[in-house]
């Protein structure tokens, strides 16, 4: 009855003047949780934007130290990037597996994501250690300060992500695909994909723009 009345009104009133769309009430938990996390991610990206801004301001302040083009190794960055892109894909596979409650593919997807994340971290750590060993640590110049902070901040996020990932796997092992576990898995996937987006900014602005000119 109500439906037909609405439909009639919609025909008589194609622009919906006089139609009040009623808010349906509190949203289900899955939407609330994911939205809250989405808002958190945006705030996290604003934080990254400050480190990007600091890098943009300080990039030329080498204080007699090395310039970007002298210390960046494009091959390493390419490997890091491929690792993160692939891990984003495997993370997506893991979340599909979680949605259809397939433990095997979930564990496999998460494990591969974890390994790729660790490879990324290992390469980054080696790059940092190498620079510090050559005397190009973050206290050498303002440029290196901003470089280490920006890239390191992303690295810390990836490390936190790996810790979260392992906790997630343990939780699925212990509790199965409960509703709250699935909500957390969705947040984790958002987090991991967002880190990838930040990395796109990092390799474009820091490594590629920095190694030219």
């Amino acid at each position: 009855m109500a439906m037909t009345a609405t439909a009639d009104r919609a025909h008589a009133d194609p622009h919906h003047i006089g139609v009040v769309i009623e808010h349906p009430g509190p949203a289900p938990k899955r939407i609330v949780t994911a939205y809250g996390f989405w808002v958190f991610l945006l705030s996290d990206i604003v934080m990254f934007s400050c480190f990007f801004a600091a890098y943009a301001v300080l990039a030329d302040q080498t204080a007699g130290g090395p310039k970007g083009s002298e210390i960046f190794d494009q091959r390493n960055v390419a490997i890091e990037t491929v690792c993160l892109l692939l891990s984003s894909f495997t993370c997506g596979m893991a979340s599909i597996a979680a949605d259809v409650r397939n433990r095997f593919w979930f564990y496999l997807g998460m494990a591969v994501t974890c390994v790729l994340g660790l490879i990324f971290l290992a390469i980054e750590f080696r790059e940092f250690a190498d620079l510090v060993a050559r005397g190009y640590g973050p206290s050498r110049s303002a440029f290196l300060t901003s470089f280490f902070s920006l890239v390191g901040c992303h690295g810390l996020h990836v490390s936190a992500g790996v810790l979260w990932l392992l906790t997630m796997m343990a939780q699925v092992f212990a509790k199965g695909f409960r509703a709250d576990v699935l909500r957390r898995m969705m947040c984790f996937a958002l987090f991991w994909h967002a880190l990838d987006i930040v990395w796109v900014g990092v390799f474009s602005v820091v490594y590629l723009l920095g190694s030219g000119t």
Partner: protein, 666 residues
């Protein structure tokens, strides 16, 4: 083993902080002893400390803010006395102590008074106004509160262990860098703000999600009470601006702890980048504080004028305009620092533009009052006092938004008078209005009107007597933060300001008396109907204090001023509800996660300040373990059976029916 910490950290040679610290310590121990002896500890633990109920957390936020207001107020009194006596002499406070006092005053008043007060009011009221049972993330809400409390604790700890920053409330480098501030003061400052900043961010995310995703049926955006709109705007600003503060302080800490060169004078660091970034947070912060106050005034003015808010849609538009424009004006805090005419002009114009939506709001409140039947209850007095005071503060603000004028007034007492004018006249008056207005909702009895009005008049006049002289002193060339001075022309104004401070203090005493008297007379002041002010929005539709589940049924909203409509409807039909059918209600279980997490955060923060690295690791592991334990729990909700809901709700309905039938006969 203990890093930089040893006995020299305790200032045995300075009697003032030591005595103050001892008094506070004895006070805390006395309260704790009373709680334990009287056997209230289990009650406190189960009903408050571990509570995830948004109303309880809101009350605790406000309690924290009130206690910190006394601390920040004592700092203010000490500064006013110092400037009154330190004419051609050293006064009674040595410079290094005076510098700590004005730094602590600013930090405490903004971060641990104004912020928790408005967040507390939003927490307490917004879910009720939206007609829902709790905020989006109840446990995180508790975590956020306890982290804020951790920050406050660390700041106050600096009174007796070590020292606080001597750098002003924003710790500008290079003064705040290790070479010029080698002590732990800046570290206390930065770590307490980092920890409480996490708490604020959590609260912001929580409230944004609550407003956007948890509204009752029919609560469309354009039917939300104004306070919910300003809450949304303010918390969007928190979410967008606080990460900037976190990043900036992180850079400062990296400079201090690991020898980075963000803001140093050496190796290409850039001091001005700190001013730039900190004010990119700092200006939105001003609106984070004042927007909720605008919301409170909107509710109060409309309720006590007995009219719907005038220009509701323009008010919504003005709120959201302020929300966006507040991110485009930050340079006006450093006009004088060499950005050049084009940059200064654009930010100057933007700063003047933001006054327009604020003006729209003032006119809307005035037109709401126009033709209304105004009741001059205490909340309304605070609101009218706000309008007068805030217009003066706003106009001096537009004055300093003009770059050439700012070159004359920058960092003078005029500026000090200006921002106290908007923050006291705007935020504090708003917080007090909200406190008086919603106190009956939180506790079930009204506050004593006589003491409330006394408090208002003393505070109102005390404010003018204190701060108008500061405007004058500023125009006579007095700069801010002076420990002593030799200019005879400033002296009389400093003396007048000290008298004003005494009047303000009487205002605070009246406020305390009001609470004491009201608690003693609570039976006479009892609010049985849940609607003591003849309110318009949904928080008045439930009993005072509301049951833990807020509403037995999620209300169905049909228009603006939802509860006003319901009352009008009920009067016509002369009954509120037919006998409704009650259902079980699921509520989130209490959890000590917030408290335990804050415990570890305190340990971690303290250890970081004093470079006790093993303790840092311990605190970090503890905090992570707390979250894992929380994530592992199997039951996160409990059920309130339908009979219990019915029993609670029938009492409420009966009281309310009497009210409506009485109103019908009038």
């Amino acid at each position: 083993m203990l890093g930089k910490l040893d006995w020299s950290a305790i200032p045995f040679d300075q009697p003032i902080p030591l005595i103050a610290g001892a008094v506070v310590l004895v006070g805390i121990l006395a309260v704790l002893a009373w709680v334990v002896v009287k056997g209230h500890l289990p009650y406190l633990w189960h009903e408050w400390i571990t509570s995830v109920d948004h109303k309880r957390i809101g009350v605790m936020y406000i309690l924290l803010a009130s206690v910190m207001l006394l601390r920040g107020g004592s700092d203010a009194i000490m500064m006013r006395i110092q400037q009154a006596v330190a004419y051609q002499s050293q006064g009674y406070l040595p410079p290094e102590h005076y510098n700590q006092i004005f730094s602590a005053h600013g930090t405490i008043m903004i971060f641990f008074v104004a912020m928790p007060f408005v967040i507390g009011l939003m927490n307490l009221i917004v879910p009720l106004q939206l007609g829902v049972r709790d905020v989006a993330f109840p446990t995180l809400n508790s975590v956020g509160f306890w982290l804020t409390a951790t920050g406050a604790l660390l700041v106050n700890l600096s009174l007796v262990i070590g020292e606080f920053a001597r750098t002003g409330w924003l710790a500008f480098p290079p003064l705040s860098e290790l070479s010029y501030s080698p002590g732990v003061g800046v570290d206390y400052y930065a770590w307490s703000l980092q920890i409480s900043g996490v708490g604020t961010l959590v609260a912001g995310i929580n409230l944004v999600t609550t407003v956007l995703k948890l509204r009752t049926k029919g609560m469309n955006y354009l039917r939300m009470p104004m306070f919910c709109w300003t809450t949304l705007a303010s918390n969007l600003l928190i979410v967008a601006a606080f990460p900037i503060l976190t990043a900036t302080l992180a850079m400062l800490l990296l400079d201090r702890y690991l020898g980075f060169h963000f803001f140093t004078n050496e190796a290409g660091g850039n001091v001005m980048m700190f001013m730039n970034l900190i004010w990119a947070w700092g200006h939105p912060e001003v609106y984070i504080l004042v927007l909720p106050a605008f919301g409170i005034f909107s509710e109060v003015v409309s309720t006590f004028s007995g009219k719907a808010l005038f220009g509701y849609r323009s008010m919504v538009l003005a709120t959201m305009a302020i929300c966006v424009i507040s991110f485009m004006v930050w340079l006006h805090h450093f006009f004088t620092m060499g950005a050049g005419p084009d940059v200064n002009a654009i930010f100057g114009i933007a700063s003047m533009i933001i006054a327009i939506p604020t003006g729209v709001k003032i006119y809307n409140w005035l037109f709401t009052m126009y033709g209304g039947r105004i009741r001059f209850a205490t909340p309304m007095l605070w609101s009218i006092g706000f309008m007068v005071t805030f217009i003066i503060g706003g106009l001096t603000g537009v004055l300093v938004a003009v770059p050439p004028a700012d070159f004359m007034l920058h960092n003078s007492m005029f500026l000090v008078a200006h921002f106290h004018n908007v923050i006291i006249g705007g935020v504090l008056f708003g917080a007090f209005a909200g406190f008086e207005y919603w106190f009956p909702k939180a506790f079930g009895f009204r506050l004593d009107e006589r003491w409330g009005k006394l408090a208002f008049w003393f505070t109102f006049f005390g404010f003018y007597v204190t701060f108008i002289p500061l405007y004058v002193a500023g125009m006579l060339g007095m700069t801010r933060r002076m420990q002593h001075y030799d200019v005879a022309a400033w002296r009389p104004w400093m003396l007048v300001a000290a008298v004003g401070m005494a009047v303000l203090t009487i205002g605070v005493i009246c406020q305390i008396m009001q609470i004491v008297v009201s608690i003693r007379n609570r039976e006479a002041l009892r609010d049985r109907t849940g609607d003591p002010w003849d309110g318009r929005s949904l928080e008045w539709a439930t009993s005072s204090p509301p049951p833990v589940f807020n509403f037995a049924f999620n209300p169905d909203v049909r228009g603006e001023d939802a509860y006003w409509d319901m009352k009008a409807h009920a009067k016509q039909q002369s009954h509120e509800h037919d006998a409704p059918e009650y259902h079980d209600i699921e509520m989130p279980r209490n959890s000590p996660t917030g408290f335990v997490c804050a415990f570890f955060a305190t340990i971690m923060g303290f250890a970081l300040i004093w470079h006790i690295w093993w303790m840092v690791v311990l605190g970090g592991i503890g905090a992570f373990a707390t979250f894992v334990v929380f994530a592992w729990r199997d039951h996160d909700e409990y059920v309130i059976p339908a009979e219990e809901v019915a029993a609670i709700d029938r009492v409420n309905l009966a009281e309310r029916r009497d009210l409506v039938s009485m109103a019908g006969t009038v």
